[in-house]
Symmetry: C2
Subunit: 301 residues, 2 copies
């Protein structure tokens, strides 16, 4: 496993690998898994998928300052390089890319990539500028690595939709591969930020997956549930948990993120439906979601 801390080193390595392969008439596929580190089984699932589908697997670990707001957790975002490297090794990663902030932003970037519309709602409404930071850094990483495929977890469903829109609009030469949420055995969606939760908050946070999976089960069992009613039920069950402070609960079409009409039965909605929420427990903001698709319907971001 190669570990590179400079853009220049990584680019030279990838170039020489590709030239070497081409001389043997091979054209290796490269899979990129962009992360902010503090890796968990969610990330591991992306790495395994990338390992299956590519010849070269690149894991990037970069806590990207420009996607954090001024009052967010950039400084305290959890980091554990040693553990990350051993997880990467275990998952058969070929290259770990660990750039410094100075190398990624030698001066404050004057250039931003911005996706309009999709970024106005859900997390975009709560975190102004967040998605501009995400699309900009993902654009940079796609240029540096030039992957065949890039893997993103569906826990950040809006992020996956925004990045897919960017890639389509700007003709990036990479396939965006969304991957399912991975949960703890009790249902909590894996997140690097779960480490912030104290034991009471950790227990309280189960209300999110419980409420979402209950609703999912009902819709999948064929129940007629109007979007407005579903949303009110979710809000009520989360409010019943005293430690939970709701940021948003939304029921929207996916990947367009337009709200499903209040009076529309979720199971009759055209195309996939994203039920997404963001809830604070103490100072920790968690997100979770389910995406409901008709039987046999493929999910595309």
């Amino acid at each position: 496993m190669n570990v590179f801390r400079e853009i220049r080193e990584l680019k030279e390595f990838l170039k020489s690998e590709r030239v070497r392969a081409a001389k043997e008439r091979k054209f290796p596929k490269t899979g990129l898994v962009p992360t902010m580190g503090f890796l968990h089984e969610g990330h591991a699932s992306l790495l395994r998928r990338a390992r299956q589908e590519n010849d070269i697997v690149v894991l990037s670990i970069f806590v990207n300052p420009i996607q954090f707001g001024p009052n967010e957790d950039f400084e305290r975002y959890p980091r554990d390089e040693e553990k990350d490297l051993s997880l990467a090794e275990r998952e058969g990663v070929d290259v770990v890319f660990l750039p410094s902030v100075e190398d990624m932003y030698p001066q404050p970037t004057a250039t931003k990539i911005r996706v309009e519309g999709l970024t106005d709602r859900l997390c975009g409404a709560s975190r102004p500028g967040h998605f501009d930071g995400v699309t900009t850094v993902v654009g940079k990483l796609l240029h540096i690595v030039q992957p065949t495929n890039a893997y993103f977890g569906q826990k950040d469903a809006q992020q996956a939709a925004v990045i897919a829109q960017m890639v389509q609009d700007l003709n990036f030469d990479a396939v965006i591969v969304p991957c399912p949420i991975i949960r703890e055995s009790d249902g909590l969606a894996l997140s690097s930020r779960n480490v912030y939760l104290n034991p009471d908050e950790r227990k309280a946070a189960l209300v999110l997956s419980r409420s979402l999976l209950e609703l999912e089960a009902k819709v999948e069992a064929g129940e007629n549930i109007k979007a407005g009613d579903a949303r009110r039920t979710l809000v009520q069950s989360i409010h019943a948990e005293p430690l939970a402070v709701i940021d948003y609960v939304e029921i929207v079409h996916f990947p367009g993120l337009k709200p499903v009409e209040e009076i529309e039965n979720i199971k009759d909605a055209k195309g996939p439906v994203l039920i997404a929420l963001a809830v604070k427990f103490g100072t920790t903001r968690l997100i979770d979601n389910v995406i409901l698709t008709k039987k046999g319907e493929a999910l595309h971001v």
Copy 2:
């Protein structure tokens, strides 16, 4: 010479050329010359430079709607595909890429690339949104063609500076090559828009190059000319031409585009100085500039 009208066709062609070359252990350099067509000797000079420095030369011709304002000349922008193709043939172009608006923008793009700061002044102040349209389409073309080098004329000095900033900030894997202005024998800077000028306006427009080149000659002869005085002299000599209506006359550092202090001698300014202007003759807006560098000083955008 290959002519492609679809992104998909062009990408397939370039991929197969690159794979074919790699099998012979060759790694061809690709030069991209992005234009809006109605080609003149200025474009021809870019194509010749690209021809010298690359194995595959791609000329793109695309009148990009999103870089025109609502009251600008998108609809009437001059087009002459037949003449363009014969100029391309003459200059040894390998591939002409002539995409349709529908192929480049199958839906209105939700994604924009935006360079802050550099785009606020000069043409950016007169044409709000113009440079966002330019950087977005250039980003798309860089992704589609994946060139080694991309060539831009210095007549659009601000555009060259903005694109160089974008490429640096977003780690695009292409070298931006700025190329000198080409002028008619009487001094008028070549532009596809010169065709709009009636004979009187065409004659009046010579005031631009005459004023700029006079100032350049004085500074190069070692005269002490303060930026404020130089600007006033330029404005006066252009005002003396009754058909000329000034949009802006600016003396700025290059490529940062910050104004040179009024009281600073131009020849003592640190780094290159751009003297740029935009002037309307009837309904036609022309731009022109000179970039002053110290002897032996290289010019970088």
